[in-house]
Symmetry: C2
Subunit: 305 residues, 2 copies
Amino acid sequence: MTEIQGVGEFGLIARLSAAAGTPPSPYGPGDDAALVSTSDGRVVVTTDLLVEGTHFRRDWSDAYDIGRKSAAQNLADVAAMGARPTSLLIGLGAPARFPTAEFDALAAGIRDECAEAGAVLIGGDLVAAPQLVISGTALGVLEGRPPVLRSGARPGDLVGVVGRLGWAAAGLRLLLAGERHGPLIDAHRRPRPPYALGPVLAAVGATSMCDVSDGLVSDLGHLAQASGVTFEIDSGSLPALGAPGVTDEELLTGGEDHALAFTLPAGTPLPLEAVLIGRVLEGPVQVRVDGHPARLRGYEHFGRG
Amino acid sequence: MTEIQGVGEFGLIARLSAAAGTPPSPYGPGDDAALVSTSDGRVVVTTDLLVEGTHFRRDWSDAYDIGRKSAAQNLADVAAMGARPTSLLIGLGAPARFPTAEFDALAAGIRDECAEAGAVLIGGDLVAAPQLVISGTALGVLEGRPPVLRSGARPGDLVGVVGRLGWAAAGLRLLLAGERHGPLIDAHRRPRPPYALGPVLAAVGATSMCDVSDGLVSDLGHLAQASGVTFEIDSGSLPALGAPGVTDEELLTGGEDHALAFTLPAGTPLPLEAVLIGRVLEGPVQVRVDGHPARLRGYEHFGRG
């Protein structure tokens, strides 16, 4: 089994570039920086860091899935602004003894998730590290639309979600219980963010949006705080976004599925995939579930617990 | 001494945003992604990953210097494209017990290096990690100029450098020998890339450019390879870019000073800071020093040795 220390940094970069396919311009991997074009003078950009042990375990996720997950996490943030993802950069830290076959699988996962989102891998960095560390930077274009911020929810707006809720959290629970196969475990290993719906929701007039990475209640809490409003959620609407085996608690607090949560004015025509889950009310900054204020319980790094 | 686990992720993000000063638009830290504007429809973007133990040691560099170094490494790549750095995103992985005072010092270092380059911290990510990991993503604008690529060097061009050569490598040698103070050690801890000269060199017509991060010979090797030419270097010109205590070897192979190496047509008016060090010849892909082919010895992660 070859290890990446035998291939060398520049050899690995060549393998990664080959896996990414032809870059969209002559300015992709290989120069000091990549060049991104935009028709409306604006680019949306976001970065995330995934660390082995914190965000994934290599005995639970194979390298291909880790590649897909790291790309998905960043690309979903772009879609959550109402932008169309166009480009991804990846910084990879790996032990010298990391197997070359796993490196190639990781690159393939990144490539396939980019393809899913309509984006292209345009650059990155490759360094030695004691454990696997993956930083991703995703860029996207708004194509003339205003960005959909967290601060735009207004009293009277409806609250909706596209994508999955609680799947990844239920999958993690099953993994901890020793299970290794099934749709929820697949969902934990490989989120399926509804990339294309970010721009669609922006186009129909979403007033605020974010991706559900910490958990529905927690992420709606961010919208409520940024917008200075109350969110009222009807828990009976949520199972349509879950799956068999997902608990009520996981629907409300499970993160990492990267669904898109949004608000829009009542009467707005909705995409078929959207599920309405509540409404925005005038009132204190809080999220209420079936009339009761919810504790904001989403995952927080360095949390006070 | 407080630790970052007591402050919480969102509290830390607030501290980081405060350290960064007012973002340039309402779309900075706090939303899923940041928004970058450009007048000419193009954005230059680059990412780098720094890992404790590989890129820095906390007993040799304090948190402030690590912040400056991580920002500098990315911002210099933008300048090396002939672009003006405008924005930086930082992904920070840190142990839960990382002291809050060091977190604040790191943020201050990032802020000060951004100011040095004329850029603003616009976003990032903050996660738990077993050791300090810093990913940076820098963006910049070309303001109508073509990007300066690695592939544009032509036979007959002159080769020049702006910035420092060998300082950081000499500083590392002194640190390894037990010294702790002096200008070379400062240079190792805190590179001073000549940011403003990237756009200047692009404007006067540089045909190729890169930043010297691996070592002069190695990085010129990248230009030679991308351009399909021979680089001929006159070693007698290099001490003007070094300092007392920097060896001839360190001038040729020391990295991490982030000087800018470039080529331009003979007769081009040069910025005052530029030192001409050789010329581009027709011939095989190689770097020759005083007529002798140089071994390409720069630092390579996962190197074959």
